[in-house]
């Protein structure tokens, strides 16, 4: 097959699985787009083992990072990863509006056209982080679409399934993990809660917004590793512009006035 990967620089060991890397077509006509994929088969019996598509999030971050630093060539099943980026053939000045799920669905059909033997395998879609949006929306197209795919289910790891619940729960997570202290917690409750419930997500009370942003800065900008509370923060906090905007979808109701919140005293140099 044209995309077969026969060797990899630095791979000094023999592998007992096959792998392919290339491009899947995700659009048609003058809207043609290509997504890079990397497909590794299972070690046991690729012809009958389940097939998993793994999508990292962002939006706009690469699944190759998930392949090389998370899943690696460990094989609960054959593992197919692709980037939900578009590599447009023309360097269009404006990114065509693409509905990610539609293009991912077309790319999936392009994959099975390249590898028709795998259409019988049980198929699962996994998404991580913002992939918690990519995976269910693609799953719905696979489950309701015409393409013959033996689709069995989907999994979402540390997914962004609801902005409101993610923001609301983070304030409780932060307090009960000892990040905020009593003063901030008391002020949050006084300004963001009524006798029945609290709203840390899109409260209109100015004081509440400011206090939630103080909490936001402690979690995301004070030097903690927001991906793993008990791990060190690797290296400098060199923000990737794309990443910083990507995280902008959290606490989106308050982002506009985050700048007026003083950076906390503790910050990694």
């Amino acid at each position: 097959a044209p995309d077969e990967v026969t060797h990899l620089p630095g791979m000094t060991f023999k592998t007992n699985y096959s792998q392919w890397s290339g491009y899947l077509q995700a659009g048609t006509g003058n809207n043609v787009k290509f997504l890079h994929y990397w497909f590794v088969t299972s070690q046991r019996d690729p012809a009958t083992d389940p097939l998993v598509l793994w999508l990292n999030g962002g939006p706009g971050c690469s699944s190759l990072d998930g392949f090389l630093s998370e899943n690696g060539p460990f094989h609960v099943s054959s593992l197919l990863e692709w980037d939900t980026l578009i590599l447009t053939v023309k360097n269009t000045t404006r990114m065509m509006i693409r509905y990610v799920a539609d293009d991912n669905y077309k790319a999936l059909q392009s994959f099975f056209a390249k590898f028709p033997n795998f259409t019988q395998n049980e198929f699962f879609i996994f998404g991580e982080s913002y992939g918690g949006v990519y995976a269910p929306t693609l799953s719905l197209r696979v489950a309701t679409g015409k393409a013959k795919i033996n689709f069995k289910g989907f999994a979402v790891g540390n997914g962004l399934s609801s902005f409101a619940l993610n923001d609301q729960s983070l304030i409780y997570f932060g307090y009960y993990h000892g990040l905020f202290g009593e003063d901030l917690w008391r002020d949050l409750n006084i300004n963001c809660c009524d006798e029945k419930s609290c709203n840390f997500y899109n409260n209109t009370n100015e004081k509440c917004m400011t206090l939630v942003n103080v909490a936001f800065v402690i979690v995301y900008e004070s030097g903690l590793n927001e991906y793993a509370l008990y791990l060190d923060c690797e290296g400098l906090r060199a923000y990737h512009k794309g990443y910083e905007r990507a995280m902008g979808h959290l606490f989106r109701s308050y982002r506009k006035n985050l700048s007026n919140v003083k950076k906390s005293s503790v910050s990694l140099r």
Partner: protein
């Protein structure tokens, strides 16, 4: 730059080597690989604030779903996803209970018919990276529809 606190130097250096791009059939005309794409993120508009309706449709089609969380992550914390699954409104078909890996409690899970919510104790956002044994066990149980 990279997402904060993540060291992706190794994969960035390796993926951008000429011989690696050649072996992976990546054309020279394409830009270097980066862990996140500014261009995509800048022009990305989000259509969904919640996945609730999508999940309800998928689960009405008899598909299986697993929502799992490393429980030390703060970007997408476990509590938010636990509330999300409970908010779907399905009746619990198991109690909230521990699951075991290598004779240790690896986390907790609860099933609501075809959807399972599960935590991976002590793992962060990238569960397979920080808890590979537990992740393998969890993936295998989900894919084979076995017990956790």
């Amino acid at each position: 730059g990279v997402p904060p606190c993540i060291n992706s130097t190794a994969q960035t250096n390796w993926l951008n080597r000429g011989d690696v791009r050649k072996a992976l059939h990546i054309p020279d005309i394409l830009p270097p690989w980066d862990i996140c794409s500014d261009v995509v993120e800048q022009q990305y508009s989000m259509l969904y604030h919640t996945m609730k309706e999508v999940y309800l449709k998928l689960l009405s089609l008899d598909l299986r779903a697993l929502v799992y969380n490393g429980d030390t992550d703060m970007a997408c914390n476990f509590l938010g996803d636990q509330w999300f699954v409970e908010d779907l409104g399905f009746k619990a078909t198991s109690r909230y209970q521990p699951w075991i890996h290598d004779d240790q409690i690896a986390g907790f899970y609860q099933q609501f018919g075809n959807i399972t919510f599960l935590t991976v104790k002590g793992a962060g956002h990238m569960v397979p990276q920080w808890a590979p044994g537990q992740a393998f066990h969890m993936f295998q149980s989900f894919i084979e529809n076995g017990r956790y």
